[in-house]
C-alpha cells in the first residue's frame, strides 16, 4: 500500500468508528442537555441492546436466512433494540433518576453509576444464559461472536483501499438518524418542549409543559439512539461482551464533551474527531499511546475552547 492509500484507509476507518461513537454520544448529549446528568448507565444500556440483537439473531436463526431476508432481519433488530433500549433508559429515569430531581446533581450521578453497575451485571447474566448463540452459556463473561450479517468483500474491487459494506451500513443507519434527530429537536413541538425544559425547567413547567414527561421522552430517545448504535456496533465489530459499555460510553462521553456537551452537531463532530484521531494515532504514532493522545487533544481543545468545539458559551446572567 502506498502512503496515500494508507492515509485514505485510516480516514475511512476513523470515520466509520467515529460515526458509531457519534451515535452513542448523541444519546449522552441529549440527556445531558436536558437534566445535566452524565448518564453513566448509557453505555451499559447500549451494551444490553447489543445482547438483545444477538439473542434475536439466534432466536430466529438469522444467520441461515438468505441475503435480502437478512436485511429485513437487521431492520427488525434495529427497531426492537431501539425500542428496548429506549424503554430501558426511560425506566431507569423513572425508577432511579426522577425521584432525585430535587437532590444535588452528584446524587443523581451516583444513582447513574449504580444503574451502570446493575446493567453490567445483567449483561453478565444475559451472556450466561443457556442459549445456542451464547455457546451454551458456559462462559458468561467471555466476549461473544456476533455473526457477520454484512459481508466483508471490498466494494472497490481490487483496490488496496478497502471499503466494506459494513462501512456503508454504518453510514446508512447513522446519517438518517442524525437528520431525523435534528429535525425532531429543531422543528417539532416535542423538540421545542425539550429545549424549553433544558433552558429552564421551572419556567417550562409554569408554561404548562409536562416536564417529567418531556424528560422521560428524552431518555427514551437517547436510549433508542443507543439501541440503534448497539446494532450498528455489533454489525461492524462482530463482537459483543458485557463490559463493552464502559469503553463505548467513555468514548461517547468524550465525544460529547469535545463537541460541546448539549449540542447535537457537536456530538457528531466530536465522535468523528475522536474516530479519526484514534485511527491516525494508531497509524502514525503507536497504538499504546492512542488513548493518551485522544485525551491530550481533548485537553488542548478545551483549553482553547472551554465549551467544546460547537458548544455555546452561555453567558451567565449577572
Amino acid at each position: 500500500m502506498q502512503d496515500s492509500e494508507v492515509f485514505l484507509q485510516q480516514l475511512i476507518t476513523g470515520l466509520s468508528n467515529g460515526m458509531i461513537i457519534a451515535l452513542i454520544a448523541l444519546g449522552y448529549t441529549m440527556v445531558y442537555g436536558i437534566i445535566e446528568l452524565i448518564n453513566f448507565a448509557h453505555g451499559d444500556v447500549f451494551m444490553l441492546g447489543a445482547f438483545l440483537a444477538l439473542t434475536l439473531l439466534g432466536m430466529f436463526g438469522m444467520e441461515a436466512w438468505p441475503q435480502h431476508w437478512q436485511l429485513a432481519g437487521v431492520v427488525l433488530m434495529l427497531v426492537s433494540c431501539a425500542a428496548f433500549c429506549g424503554t430501558l433508559n426511560w425506566s431507569l429515569d423513572r425508577l432511579a433518576y426522577r425521584p432525585l430531581r430535587r437532590a444535588s446533581k452528584l446524587s443523581l450521578l451516583v444513582s447513574a453509576i449504580g444503574c451502570s453497575f446493575i446493567c453490567t451485571n445483567l449483561g453478565l447474566f444475559w451472556g450466561g444464559m443457556p442459549m445456542d448463540v451464547f455457546a451454551g452459556g458456559v462462559a458468561a463473561a467471555a466476549p461473544k461472536d456476533f455473526p457477520q450479517l454484512v459481508p466483508q468483500y471490498n466494494l472497490l474491487g481490487e483496490s488496496a483501499v478497502r471499503v466494506v459494506p459494513a462501512d456503508i451500513a454504518v453510514l446508512v443507519v447513522t446519517i438518517p438518524l442524525m437528520i431525523a434527530l435534528v429535525y425532531l429537536v429543531k422543528r417539532t413541538r416535542l423538540g421545542r418542549a425539550m429545549r424549553a425544559v433544558a433552558q429552564d425547567s421551572t419556567a417550562a413547567a409554569l408554561m404548562g409543559i409536562p416536564v417529567d414527561r418531556v424528560i422521560g421522552v428524552t431518555f427514551f430517545i437517547g436510549g433508542a439512539l443507543g439501541g440503534f448504535a448497539s446494532v450498528v456496533y455489533a454489525l461492524y465489530n462482530n463482537t459483543i461482551g458485557f463490559q463493552m459499555g464502559y469503553r463505548a460510553g467513555m468514548d461517547a462521553f468524550t465525544a460529547a464533551v469535545l463537541g460541546g456537551i448539549g449540542s447535537l452537531p457537536g456530538a457528531v463532530l466530536g465522535g468523528l474527531t475522536i474516530g479519526c484521531v484514534r485511527a491516525m494515532s494508531d497509524q502514525y504514532v503507536e497504538t499504546r499511546w492512542t488513548n493518551t493522545i485522544v485525551f491530550g487533544i481533548l485537553v488542548l481543545i478545551l483549553i482553547f475552547r472551554p465549551s467544546g468545539l460547537l458548544g455555546s458559551t452561555r453567558r451567565e446572567k449577572v
Binding site: 466509520s16 453497575f117 462462559a139 458468561a140 466476549p143 457477520q148 485511527a279 494508531d282 497504538t287
Partner: protein, 402 residues
C-alpha cells in the same frame, strides 16, 4: 447524626461478624482446607470458572477425602466488584485469611502474576504451599529472569513454597518463535496486550525471533478495551508481515484482533499463546476467521492427545460439565491433583508436611504429561504443543521443543 453513624457502623460490623461465624460453623477436626484465590468477578471469570471446575473435579474424584481426612475447598475471589479485576488488597486479604485459617494447608492461585507477588511473601512466612495454575511471569521463580531481587524477595523464610505447573513465558515465547520460523515466517509483526502475561511473552518472542533470524517489523501494545483494531490492521497490512503474533488472552481481545485482521484483508498467519487456548477464543473470533492459518501454543498436550491419565480426565470432565476441558481447566485440575497427592504422601498432615511433599513431587503422572518440580518450584515439563483451528475446533499439530 451520631446515631446514624453508629447505627450504620454497628450494622456493618454485626452483619459481617455474623456472616463469618456462620461460614465456618461446619468445620471439624479432621478437615484440611484447600483455598483457591482467583479473580471470580469481572472479565477473567470465564477462565477462572474452568479452573475452579478443574479443582472441584479433582477433589470430587478423590471422594472429598484423603486418607480419612476431609478435604474442604473454598473458592475465594481476589477481584472486587469496584475494580472488576484482581485487586491487590483483596488478594492480600485472601492470603492473610489463609494464614489465619489453621486448617488451610494449600493455596491454589493466583491467576495473575501480579497477584502472586502480593500473596507469595505472606504465604511463605506462614509456610503454606502455593500452587499456581496460571502464573507465567518468570521472575516469580527463576533467578536472573526478572528483577535483580527476584525471586528471593518472595521467599522471606528462604524456603521455596511457591510452585507452578505451567511453563513460564520464557519457554513458551521461545518455542513460539521457533515454531513461527518453522512455519515459514520471515517478517513478523508482534502485538501484546500490555499486561504482565502478554507483554512478557511477546518480549521473549521478539528477543528469540531476532536471534534465530526472523525479522520483527513491528512491535506495539494494544488497548484491550478497544472496540476494534481496524486502524491497527491497516498499519500492519501496510508493512505486509507473514505472521502476526499477539501476546494476550481471549479477555484482552485476541478474538477481535483475529476478526479485524481478516476483515481488513490480511491473509497471513496469526499466532497466539495459551491464554487463548480455550473454546471462548474461537467463539469470540468466529471460526471462519481462524480457519487454517491461526496457531496456538499451549504448555502441555491438548485434551484429545492425552492418553492414560489425561484421557480419563477428559472423559470425567466431559461427563461432569458437558464440554471438553480447556487449557485452564487442565491447569486447575493438575494443580489440585498435585496438592491432593502431596497430602496423601505427606508425613505429617500439616502445612510443613504438605509443603515438603509438594516440593518433593517427582515424575508426577499428570494430564500435562509426566513431570517433576525443580528446585525453583517450576515444572520440569518442557512439552509444549502447537495447534491450529479447523471448523471451530482446535486441532493438534505437533509437539514443540521437548
Amino acid at each position: 447524626m451520631t446515631h446514624h453513624a453508629l447505627c450504620v457502623l454497628s450494622l456493618a460490623l454485626t452483619s459481617s461478624l455474623g456472616c463469618t461465624a456462620w461460614a465456618q460453623s461446619t468445620e471439624s477436626k479432621g478437615t484440611l482446607t484447600i483455598l483457591s484465590s482467583l479473580p471470580r468477578t469481572g472479565s477473567a471469570n470465564a477462565q477462572t470458572t474452568t479452573i475452579v471446575n478443574g479443582i472441584k473435579l479433582a477433589i470430587a474424584e478423590a471422594g472429598g477425602q484423603v486418607d480419612g481426612w476431609t478435604i474442604a475447598y473454598q473458592d475465594l475471589d481476589d477481584a472486587s466488584p469496584q475494580r472488576g479485576n484482581w485487586d491487590p488488597a483483596v488478594e492480600a486479604q485472601n492470603a492473610n485469611a489463609a494464614t489465619k485459617d489453621a486448617t488451610c494447608i494449600a493455596y491454589i492461585g493466583t491467576f495473575n502474576s501480579g497477584a502472586a507477588k502480593v500473596a507469595m511473601p505472606i504465604l511463605n512466612r506462614a509456610g503454606i504451599v502455593m500452587v499456581s495454575p496460571a502464573n507465567t511471569y518468570p521472575g516469580l521463580t527463576k533467578p536472573g529472569k526478572g528483577e535483580p531481587n527476584e525471586p528471593m524477595v518472595y521467599r522471606p523464610t528462604g524456603t521455596v513454597s511457591y510452585f507452578r505447573i505451567v511453563p513460564t513465558d520464557d519457554l513458551q515465547g521461545v518455542q513460539a518463535a521457533d515454531w513461527a520460523k518453522q512455519l515459514g515466517a520471515k517478517k513478523v509483526f508482534v502485538l501484546h496486550d500490555r499486561e504482565l502475561y502478554g507483554k512478557g511473552i511477546a518480549d521473549v518472542f521478539c528477543d528469540h525471533a531476532k536471534t534465530i533470524g526472523v525479522e520483527i517489523i513491528g512491535f506495539d501494545g494494544t488497548d484491550s478495551k478497544a472496540a476494534n483494531y481496524r486502524s491497527l490492521v491497516t498499519k500492519i497490512k501496510a508493512v505486509s508481515p507473514d505472521l502476526v503474533y499477539f501476546g494476550g488472552t481471549t479477555q484482552t481481545n485476541a478474538g477481535q484482533i483475529a476478526k479485524d485482521l481478516r476483515a481488513g484483508g490480511y491473509e497471513g498467519m496469526y499466532m497466539v499463546p495459551d491464554g487463548c487456548f480455550e473454546q471462548a477464543f474461537i467463539e469470540a473470533a468466529g471460526d471462519s476467521n481462524l480457519n487454517g492459518n491461526t496457531y496456538i501454543t499451549f504448555g502441555g498436550l491438548p485434551a484429545d492427545q492425552l492418553t492414560g491419565r489425561g484421557a480419563a480426565f477428559r472423559d470425567a470432565y466431559h461427563a461432569k460439565y458437558g464440554s471438553d476441558p480447556e487449557a485452564y481447566a487442565a491447569y486447575g485440575y493438575e494443580a489440585a491433583r498435585v496438592v491432593l497427592q502431596a497430602i496423601a504422601e505427606a508425613k505429617t498432615r500439616d502445612r510443613a508436611g504438605v509443603l515438603a511433599a509438594v516440593a518433593a513431587t517427582k515424575n508426577f503422572d499428570g494430564v500435562l504429561g509426566r513431570w517433576s518440580f525443580d528446585a525453583n518450584g517450576d515444572t520440569s515439563s518442557r512439552v509444549l504443543s502447537g495447534q491450529t483451528v479447523k471448523d471451530g475446533k482446535f486441532v493438534f499439530v505437533k509437539v514443540l521443543g521437548g
